[in-house]
Amino acid sequence: MRLLFPIAIPLTTAVLGLFAWRWRAVQRGLGVAGAAALLITSFELLKSVWQQGPQATWVGNWPPPFGITLIADLLSAIMVALAAVIGFAVALYSLAHVDPAREAFGYYPLLHILLMGVCGAFLTGDLFNLYVWFEVMLMASFVLLALGGERAQLEGAIKYVTLNLMASTLFLTAVGLLYGTVGTLNMADVALKIRPLASSGITTSIAFLLLTAFGIKAAIFPLFFWLPASYHTPPVAVSAVFAGLLTKVGVYALLRVFTLIFIEQERTIPTVVLALSALTMLTGVLGAVVQSEFRRILSFNIVSHIGYMILGLGLFTTAGLAGSIFYIIHHIIVITNLFLVSGLVHAVQGSFDLGRLGGLYRTHPGLAVLFLIPALSLSGVPPLSGFFAKLLLVRAGLHAEQWSIVAIALGVSLLTLLSMMKIWAEVFWKPKESDPLTEGSVASRVPPMAERAAMRSRLGLWSSAGLAVLTAMIGLGADFVLAFAEAAAEQLRHPDLYISTMLQRGHP
């Protein structure tokens, strides 16, 4: 029953939102209330999985492996809890920063459908069902991306949808091949039945098809181009929730499939993933360094940090996987927060362009602190969460004697710091240039904008501050979080528990 809430609550919220289409106030209330309910239930789920081990429910009461199984091991439960945190923070932020026209066109129901898709993908134990949740996510995110119909938005949305549909097609092809090979799609059942076929060519082909499909979703090198092309176009609240959650679903799928099903390919897949991880880190951060638009810098940083998240998978040790999971926990919170801050900056000065921003440290010191905390955390400055996340991965890399990847990871975090300091210097430090061309219009536009910002941004500030506190807490209580990450990694490395939970019908 607990497993059901992360799917049923967003769906209920969305349905109620459809009924309350004309009452914007009701929709806003529902949006936040639904997210709060999701937050509470998902942490209850995490607590019970932590205390009692993996749990499963068999949808429709079909015995496994025939029906769809929903299953939560520690990794799934952690991911669902993170999705709920981001959902709640963004729902609060949206109250202040999403315009009434978008709200009137069903912004909140769509946000909750998206959350349902994300939670469903984390909880399902069936590969075809995973595909369905990907599609639910894709549809909701496409509409959210295009909602408002601005020219840049539509351009971004087309690139986004085209490449993601290609990923879906590859995924579906792989699922079809897999079903043809082993005759089942229940992940645990597949894991058992594919073992004797592990060295056959078809298994390797399926593994690489899935690697490509999930790689596009997760935006790893060389398949990440849709991400920086689209994430800076929609309203900030939308980019923030995309940045926090969508690519991580791809990373989750990679972690799940390559620790559960294709473990016999212990040589090939992790080696490839390790190389991809290095290239993803490098290209992402180099892209970030040359950009001069706030959200594009952040978008390239997402790509770069996906590299860190799959680094642990490439090492394929318990310590490495724990590092990856810690990194995901850290990164989801930090990157969402940075996007939220970019929106707060935009609310004050009306631009995302570094050249046209400036002087915010003087006028809004609080905002500067709000930026600095996640920015330093992203680059790995102690005692914030990013430091421990990187430390774990580096240590795991040294243990596995992968010197080159360790060197790259360390170098990339310096470059990340560089890209963050570029934003800091341009947006917060540098005095705001008075632009003679737009001086008149800016002068006439600034007072109402600043006033509106002051009015609107309080909720936005609160949600951003909440995430900043969370980042600091993960850093200060790293032991506690690490215990979760290590236990989750342990479960990934020894999938027998997951398999037996899924296939043995206990009490529902």
């Binding site: 029953m1 059901l4 049923a8 769906l11 209920t12 969305a14 349905v15 459809l18 009924f19 289409w21 429910t57 068999w58 949808v59 429709g60 009461n61 929903l70 529902p508």
Partner: protein, 157 residues
């Protein structure tokens, strides 16, 4: 009771409106007359498909498509506004009602101590009614709602 509540949320309040005049510039008389004859047939057929779907080809999805096609045909002959009035409910209301129905049928399982979406049956005389039928009705409504939402939006523009 339920019907009254749904009507309340709909955009159009039209009880005994006369059939709208044919839009002469838009459609032919033949189409208009044919649609009047086809509309009830198609709607009946869609319900037949919906009910047949449990054991034989058919079901909520295909039934919903046929029903939506009937209304879309009406929109072709008499215009989108007239089709909207014929529908009474907004397509969005249909989607919401359908999703709510499907969700309710899925929640019967957990409320009676079985997993999500478990089929539950009851006998009314010789008739066996179950949650799969309720779920299919939900799908039926969602498909009509979504299809007409798209069709009517495009037709208005």
């Amino acid at each position: 009771m339920k019907r009254r509540r749904l009507e309340h949320s709909s955009e159009v309040h039209l009880r005994n409106a006369p059939l709208p005049a044919l839009e002469w510039e838009r459609a032919s008389v033949i189409l208009g007359v044919a649609v009047r004859a086809l509309l009830p047939l198609l709607l009946l057929f869609s319900i037949f498909l919906l009910l047949r779907g449990h054991h034989a080809p058919g079901g909520g999805f295909i039934g919903g498509l046929v029903a939506a096609a009937a209304v879309a045909l009406y929109a072709l002959a008499y215009g989108a506004t007239a089709a909207q009035q014929l529908l009474r409910l907004s397509p969005r209301g249909l989607v919401a009602a359908g999703l709510a129905t499907a969700l309710a049928s899925a929640l019967v399982g957990p409320l009676t101590g079985a997993p999500f979406l478990t089929g539950r049956w009851m006998k009314v005389g010789r008739l066996e009614l179950g949650t799969p039928l309720l779920f299919d009705v939900g799908v039926f409504l969602v498909v009509i709602g979504v299809t007409l939402w798209i069709v009517l939006t495009l037709a208005e523009e």
